[in-house]
Symmetry: C2
Subunit: 376 residues, 2 copies
């Protein structure tokens, strides 16, 4: 132990401007500490700060308490098992907790997070996550897609699998469902427990004009662009069958509608709905989560003839399941869509949860979606 | 566009405590802006802060300048093409730049980074990156390893490839070479340019007691533990042949020493050296980068009989190539090792660069390593 610490000190001495603030610095207090009762303590060493706020999902916005030497602390009430996003505000400036290496992006901001009991990688069989570039019209060298292959995929070279296409929301990318959505951990757990069939999960980037997530694509911008028409202008939806064909050619899929599902959150629910409408015999399972259905001008062909396309889709007798929280800002739009479907006598399932437009819900919806698809 | 902004506003209104600080907030200024002359401007909105320092690789530690309303700015001199780590210190507290979503972990701290010209994903053919769990003695459900498959791997099912095993340093994990090492971008570029052979690159987690990087493994701790004996106690090195056998069984490798290379930085160079010594006919190419060779008690069997193992290794006539910077804190240890090899008449190559124990060097070394291996 002592020698290893010396080695670390060597690293620190060698890189004074960079590594001095390593978390191994004894001055840096333990943070995001989850107690046995599932309360969480956040700590930050900030002797010269005048005010430190804790903001986010742990406790709303609350002031942290300073001790006599400059250590600021806040302990939450006991929390339900979940992933919690938070950040700090130090003298008015938003900051990440320097003691916590768990960081994820949501929309266009970074958050620390803490896993209270749930969504860790448990000691069960694990699937493989791939980041692959697939060809698409208009992209000389393709676009990046994340693909989950269930445990055993490589060891059973004759076996074929159903496929879930899982789409992110506005401001997300091909990593969103893996990071904040904890898709790999959820799939591992549901499959290991026998509640979900082993399946391939395909998570593309729904921002048609971006070839990959920030830092992985050909753009050098350090932050995603403002939302633009390329997110909901029909291009992503129109090109979607190319992705499905590529997946069926490159993976051992059960390449038929009965073994294909599509689901997505928010903007990804919009994509889900319109992709299903334009390809009525491509997916037997269609699950929009907290979705928007109509937005902006919608002049692209994929948005034309909605009534006729709905008729064609329901004629194929898909299992359509809508999910939304009762505080979601898109709630009313969902009410209206269901009223239209009801007026046509179209069958669907509907699950209403508490809460709003948030990952907390989408992770739970994903658990439900993977449990109910491919059991025919 | 207007409608999309409304949609975003809907998101913000719906998640006031979480998303208000989205980077799309017009108050948040553009940051990490790379100018045509390769100078970089960092900006942060911090009207109530008394002092904001920019720290890291962009300009050392320098004060940022406040304008009359509270926008702090610093513009660097023109910079060489590279990846630069930085962070801010706001009234004494280390903070990430809230306007920059490019973040990576080094040792146990988070840094913002900016790509000045180099190491982006260019418009060339891209390999696939996998995160796979492989079985290992003592781990019921395995350990996580990152694997790079070159472009074309899936489309040429008869072709077999050489394999580079690429090991991280103390405080790193199976993602380190992909994030700060930019291994996928380097391999894509070197292979596309014909300077490197298409190859598989295997990047395991060298911390034997950890099954995966923080956030991906079975441990819930938000920061890596202090360095412990499990990093350099022989367990990782002793079990390494299991990984090689698993790779040869699960990937289309050229499964022989002539088509296997091993390289690693710092602690990963230590692992490289001792794995090669204990398996003299496993790797034809052995490249320790800024490596440590002797550390701590080294009581494990894999560290015994060094002279005999060296003799056996050199008898197999491997191509051994040492890399180190002339300011590295491990420089003297490298001098001593080479003197010992010289005294035995063992052949090797040696490259000495400027600089110290830093990723800046390791990315350049990786470019050299992949150019010189597998060309026989």
């Amino acid at each position: 132990m002592k020698k290893s610490v010396l080695f670390l000190l060597g690293l620190l001495i060698c890189m004074p401007s960079i590594a001095q603030q390593a978390l191994w610095d004894p001055q840096q207090p333990p943070t995001a500490e989850v107690h046995p009762d599932q309360s969480v303590t956040i700590r930050i060493w900030a002797p010269t700060a005048q005010e430190v706020l804790l903001e986010g999902e742990l406790a709303g916005t609350v002031p942290m308490q300073r001790d006599s030497i400059g250590l600021w602390t806040y302990t939450t009430a006991p929390l339900a098992a979940d992933l919690y996003l938070y950040y700090l505000r130090i003298d008015g400036v938003r900051a990440l907790d320097p003691g916590n290496t768990y960081v994820a992006r949501d929309i266009a901001s970074l958050f620390n997070y803490v896993l209270v009991s749930d969504y860790r990688s448990r000691d069960i069989a694990h699937g493989t996550v791939q980041h692959v570039w697939y060809p698409l019209s208009g992209f000389a060298h393709g676009r990046r897609v994340s693909i989950y292959l269930p445990a055993g995929y490589t060891d059973h070279p004759q076996r074929r699998y159903p496929v879930l296409y899982l789409l992110h929301g506005s401001g997300g990318d091909e990593q969103a469902w893996l990071e904040l959505g904890r898709a790999a951990q959820i799939l591992d757990e549901e499959i290991a427990a026998g509640r979900a069939c082993p399946m391939i999960v395909v998570m593309p980037n729904g921002n048609y004009s971006e070839d990959a997530a920030p830092g992985y694509g050909s753009k050098g911008d350090v932050r995603p662009g403002v939302p633009n028409e390329n997110r909901m202008d029909g291009l992503f939806e129109g090109h979607f069958p190319e992705l499905v064909r590529w997946v069926d050619r490159h993976y051992r899929t059960q390449a038929k509608a009965s073994h294909r599902a599509i689901s997505g959150l928010s903007m990804g629910g919009y994509h889900t709905y319109w992709i299903a409408l334009n390809n009525p015999r491509m997916f037997h399972y269609v699950s929009p989560l907290s979705a928007v259905y109509h937005w902006g001008e919608m002049s692209a062909d994929v948005y034309a003839q909605e009534a006729e396309k709905r008729q064609a889709l329901w004629k194929a007798r898909p299992e359509v399941h809508f999910y939304i929280g009762n505080e979601d800002f898109l709630y009313q739009q969902n009410v209206e869509l269901r009223a239209e479907l009801d007026s046509c006598g179209y069958a669907y399932r509907y699950t209403e949860s508490t809460g709003g437009h948030q990952w907390k819900n989408w992770r739970r919806y994903l658990q439900q979606v993977v449990r109910e698809i491919f059991h025919h």
